[in-house]
Structure formats: C-alpha cells, structure tokens
Amino acid sequence: MDTLLPVASGSAAGPLTADELRELYSLMVAVRHLDTSAIAWQRQGIIPGYAPELGQEAAQVGSGYAVDTTRDFAFPTYREMGVARTMGVDMVAYMSTHKATWHGGLYNPMESRLAPIQAVVAGSVLHAVGWAHGQTLDKKDGVALTYFGDGASSQGDVHEAMNFAAVMKAPVVFFVQNNGWAISVPTERQVAGGSVAARAAGYGMPALKIDGDDVVAVLEATRRAFAHARSGNGPVLIEAMTYRRGPHSTSDDPGRYRSLDEERDGAGTDPLERLRQRLLADGIADEAFFAEALAAAKVEEEQIRTGIQALGSRPGTEMFDLVFQETTPALQAQAANWREESEHV
C-alpha cells in the first residue's frame, strides 16, 4: 500500500549514496551485536531484563536514520534500542533502563530528541501529536516520529492520536513496526481489517505499508513521510512489516505459543543479511568492510557493557527530589524520615 502521493512528498531525497548504505550497515551491525549481547548480559546477571528487537534492525535503523535531531523528535516505546543508537543517544544512559537504574533511562530526552523510554503500550503516541502541534503553533518545521506496534494499534490512544493529528494537520509520522506478535498474540488475532495501514484511510491520512526488513525501503519511506509532514500536509502512517525473531522479553518463552518452524517461516530472510547481499551485489562493500564493522560493534558493546557495569544505583534522594519541580512539605517530610531511618539500618 502506498497512498502517499509523490507530489505531496516533493523532492525528499535522491537515491542513497554508497556512504549512507555503508553507514546503515554499520549501524545495523552495532544494533544487532548490542541487542544479542544484552540477552547475554541478562543471562549473566548484569541486567535483570531486556526486550530484544532482533529482526527489527532494518525498521529501527532505517526510520531513525531519517530523523533530523536539530529539529525533529522521536517517541519510542520500550523496544527501540536501534532507533536510539541510530539517533546517537548515549547508549550507556539508554541501556541503564534495562539495568533497572531509572525507568526512563538516564539519557537527557530533550537533548537527545528522544522521549523517555515508554513502558505503557501506545502511551506516547498522543505526546507526539501534542509536540507536533506545538511545532505548528510555533511556526517551526520539526516532525514528530512516533513508534508503536501491532499490539499497541488496538489501544484507543492510537486512534485518538491519529484522529487528532489528522484534524489538526499535525506533522506526525506514525511508525508501526508490525512484528507479527504482541507477546503471544499473533497479528491476525490483533488487527482486524488486514492491516494497520488500512486504517489511515479512515482518517484521511496517507499510508505506506512497506517491507520493514529492507532498510533502504524503510529509510526512503520515512524520508518521504517526513517531507510530506514537514511541508504542512499533515500526518502519515507507515506500517513496516517485520518479525520479532526473539522473545518478547528475557522473561518470555515463545515455545509456548509458536513453533520453531513457524518462527523460521515468519521471519524470512535476516534483514542484516539482506543488506549485506545488496552491498556485495552492488560492489559497495566487501568482506573486509563487514569484518571491520563487526569488530567496531564488538568494541562498542564492550564499552557500553563496561559503562553499565560501572553504573551504581541512583541516590535514594532522587526518589523524592525528581517528583516535582516544586517539592511539597509532605514529600520533604517523607524524605527526611527515609533519610533518618535508612541511616540506622
């Protein structure tokens, strides 16, 4: 499905350059390696839990690559590590949420242009609409990119967000990663009407249903959507068809709801391998480049792991100090009691 008119999206960008394609590969390798390592960290007791995005590297790197961090803002859920890495977020600060250091992560969302990690399914989709409307009110040209999944598409907030954005012509790109599974529930038990993208028509919004495992297709679609929204034409919905190759989280056991054969059939070809074959076929990269990219990813992962392991707990006073900008006497009294009693333990 592609109901985004070329005229509306204008001259988004030409074909991707060789440098861009190589950078996309490097990013995807870095994300893949960090993602699979994080599972190992959890098994080793370095972190208590993690929500892997194995198989969604193309969807996340391709879309995140379209963000202009000088003016745009992205709104993740809890599975957008690849987006964060692509946008250049401090990854120790990002991964700290999985270390149980701080719920939203330790990165500065305003400076990173990435909203805090969001555990409520569909929770931040409306925030993107509000932020985008703020761009309109301020006569700025930033675009909000909001992520959610096929499961979240069932939430009322997603529908309210799409309707609000369409009514107000807010510059929002709704980016659905349809990874086939909402924990144990497959898309066919989740999404009536065949696709999330089909719903865009009901809001008078253009939609693109794309191969979410083709990073080039993802990036090009996201750039087109950004150009459309940035030009004051209102929101766009992108449904990137992909597959959650791993468990929902490190606590999940996919064997209870899908077989290995089903997994293999559903997953298709690995998005990283697809890009590798493409770069080889086009003569853009060689084995030496791939080896170098993997080596760099390993160095990066080690640095992040070291940083995570070095992270101590946040001081307990932050529980109290960060609730309000202007604290209250009651909260101060509770903090004082906590301090006094904790010192006697």
């Binding site: 803002f73 701080w102 719920h103 939203g104 330790l106 500065n108 969302p109 305003m110 400076e111 909203a115 805090p116 409520v120 929770g123 931040s124 989709v125 409306l126 925030h127 993107a128 609409v129 509000g130 932020w131 985008a132 409307h133 703020g134 761009q135 009110l137 301020d138 909000a144 009322g156 907030d157 309210e160 967000a161 309707n163 609000f164 009514v167 932050e318 100090d321 960060l322 609730v323 309000f324 900008q325 202007e326 209250t328 006497p329 009651a330 909260l331």
Partner: protein
C-alpha cells in the same frame, strides 16, 4: 441550597452573565477600587484572560472551549481576544486532550486543558496517572509538565450521570499531581492564576454549583490576613470546633457556622483549598485551638480525603482532641440522579448532627 453569607442576594444560575466586568466597589476614600463583585465564572474567565496575556506560551484547549467558550462559559471570549491558536477546540476525546498536553509541555508550552465534566476524566486516567504525573520524574526533571487541568467538579446542578463526581481523593493519591479547589470567586481568581503559572501539573477542581454565585474579588492581593496561596485558609474564626471543607462545601459550612452561632457554638471554618499537598500545619493550628474537628466533603466516605484529613489531625492533635474527628460526606454509592442529589450531598442538618456528636462525645 440557599445562599450562603458570601453570596449576593441576586446571584442565581444565570449562565449568560456578562463576564467582562463585575460591579466595582469603590472604597469610602474614593481612591482606587478595592474589590470587584463578580461570579466565579467571571473570576475564572478573568484569570485565564490574564494568564494568556502574561504568558505567550499558555494555551487553552478542550471540548467546546473555543468558539462556544466552554459549556460553562469559563473560556468565553478568550478565543476572540487571543486567537484560535491560543484557545482551541479539540476532538471529543479526553485521553487525547491530556496526552496532547504532554507533548505541548515538552515543546515548551503551558497547556491549560479542560475536561468538560469530572466524570469525563475517567477516560483520561492513563494519561494523567501514567504520563502527566510521572514525566518529570521519568525524565529526571528534564521534561517538566506545567499542565493546569481544569475540571468542573462536584455535584449540585441536577446534571446527568457522570456530571457530579468528586475525584479529589483519586487525584490526590497519584504521586506527581497537585490538586486544588477554590470555594468562592476571590479564591477562584487567585488560585487559578497561581496554578496556571506553576511548573508542575495541577488539577484545578472547579465547584460547578458555585459558578454563578457572586462574591468580592480583590485582584490585587490574595490573602489579606496573611496566609499563603499554597495553604489552607481560615474563612471564619471560632473557638469550639473546626469545620474543614473545600469547593462548594465551604459556603455550606459557613452557613452552618452562622446557624450554630445562634446556639452559642463558635465554629471555625477552614477552607482546605489545596487537596494535595494538604496544609497539615493549618489543620494542626486550628484544631489545637478548637480541639474538635468535622471534615465535610461530597465524595463518598470510604477512602475519601476526609480520612486523610482526620489522620493528619489525629497525628498532630491526638493529646488534645476531645472527640474523634467526624466525617460528613457523600455515601458509598454511585452519585445519584438529581432527585436524590440533596439526600447525598452533605446538607446543613447532617453537618449539624455531626457537630452535635462531636460536641457531646464522652470519653470511655
């Protein structure tokens, strides 16, 4: 409910009131006008008008807030004066309105959304509790949520179901939210202006049954007799017992105090104003003096805010209390239809019975 001592005789449910100006009372010296008589609707409207004028990032939105001026006309004329970019209508979805507020706050605005009626806040609870209340915390203070949510609240107007709810205990229980409710036009003007300039989310509960009652507003100063905008306020001094209330119940308690005075009972009335955080010091100061307390609210009894008030008083005044703190409240029933509304909302007789029980209490 008849008029309280604070109301003018002519005040009634006139929803076409001219809100551009009240009647100015010039002081005897004939110099600057001291106070202006206006309805709470006019006072709120004026406060919002001034907030919009003073803060270019303040925006007002919600269902019917724009052209119509709100179903209670609180935003009447504001779109015409400040433009459709600053005062606008949204689609009819409360979660959308509150969720959108988060994004606008992130973008540097001071959103002043309206949820049209108390009961309509229920569909927005997720955005209020999981998002607005926690975003400052989640973001480690980098994304403040200066959101002032106006909610026409409480009962008393013979409205349909879900139009007479008292949600203060629900809101007050949520870490990260502050809750305030004005009791008269003067309080409405000042508390709204204060709330709408705070860097934290404030739920502003407007007693809708009081919208059309007039009172004197001194725009120049909030608490003439000292006190703080962030705390409770003694509305009537007394020696024998403290009546604690907020919103529409304050006027009723003042009326009760006048009736009790005829029997020689000298009642202090404390307008709590802030329901989160509660001014524990003001409670302690008053009840230390009177040694008896009755708390009055429209919300159901069980786990109502009256329980919190009673505990705060017990904590500070246990040794001198002459009787357990009494709660005169709504019942643990769904808010009833108009015909039974007066049976549900604490009335003068029920409050007087409560006072009598406290005064006649014998230890042991």
């Amino acid at each position: 409910m008849s008029n309280s001592i604070l109301e003018s005789e002519s005040a009634s449910g006139n929803n076409t009131a001219d809100n551009t100006a009240g009647d100015t009372i010039t002081n005897p010296a004939g110099s600057e006008p001291a106070t202006t008589v206006m309805s709470m609707q006019q006072a709120l409207n004026r406060a919002l008008d001034e907030v919009l004028a003073e803060n270019p990032k303040a925006v007002i939105f919600g269902e019917d807030c724009g052209r119509l001026g709100g179903v209670f006309r609180i935003t009447d004329g504001l779109q015409a004066r400040h433009g459709a970019q600053r005062v606008f209508d949204t689609p009819l979805a409360e979660s959308g309105i509150l969720g959108m507020s988060v994004g606008l706050a992130m973008a540097g605005f001071h959103p002043i959304p309206e949820v049209q009626f108390d009961g309509f806040a229920y569909p927005a609870i997720n955005q209020m509790v999981c998002q607005i209340a926690r975003m400052n915390y989640r973001s480690r203070g980098t994304m403040p949520m200066p959101i002032t949510l106006r909610v026409p609240s409480f009962g008393g107007i013979r409205a349909p179901e879900h139009h007479g709810e008292s949600l203060e205990a629900l809101f007050a229980h949520v870490p990260g939210l502050k809750v305030v409710s004005p009791s008269n036009p003067h309080e409405a003007y000042h508390l709204l202006k204060y709330a709408a300039t705070r860097p934290d989310p404030v739920i502003f509960m407007e007693p809708k049954s009081r919208y059309w009652q007039k009172g004197e507003v001194d725009a120049a100063r909030h608490d003439a007799g000292g006190g703080s905008t962030t705390g409770a306020k003694v509305m009537r001094e007394g020696r024998h017992l403290t009546l604690i209330a907020w919103g529409a119940m304050v006027a009723r308690c003042l009326q009760v105090a006048e009736l009790a005075a005829e029997d020689g009972i000298d009642i202090e009335v404390l307008d709590l104003r802030w329901l989160k955080p509660i001014d524990a010091e003001a409670l302690a100061a008053s009840v230390r003096k009177t040694r008896r307390a009755v708390v009055v609210h429209e919300a159901p009894l069980t786990s109502g805010l009256g329980a919190e008030v009673a505990q705060l008083i017990t904590q500070s005044c246990f040794d001198t209390l002459r009787a357990p703190v009494e709660r005169i409240t709504g019942f643990d029933v769904p808010y009833p239809s108009g015909d039974l509304e007066d049976e549900y909302i604490p009335n003068i007789d029920r409050i007087l019975f409560g006072i009598q029980r406290v005064l006649e209490y014998k230890r042991g």
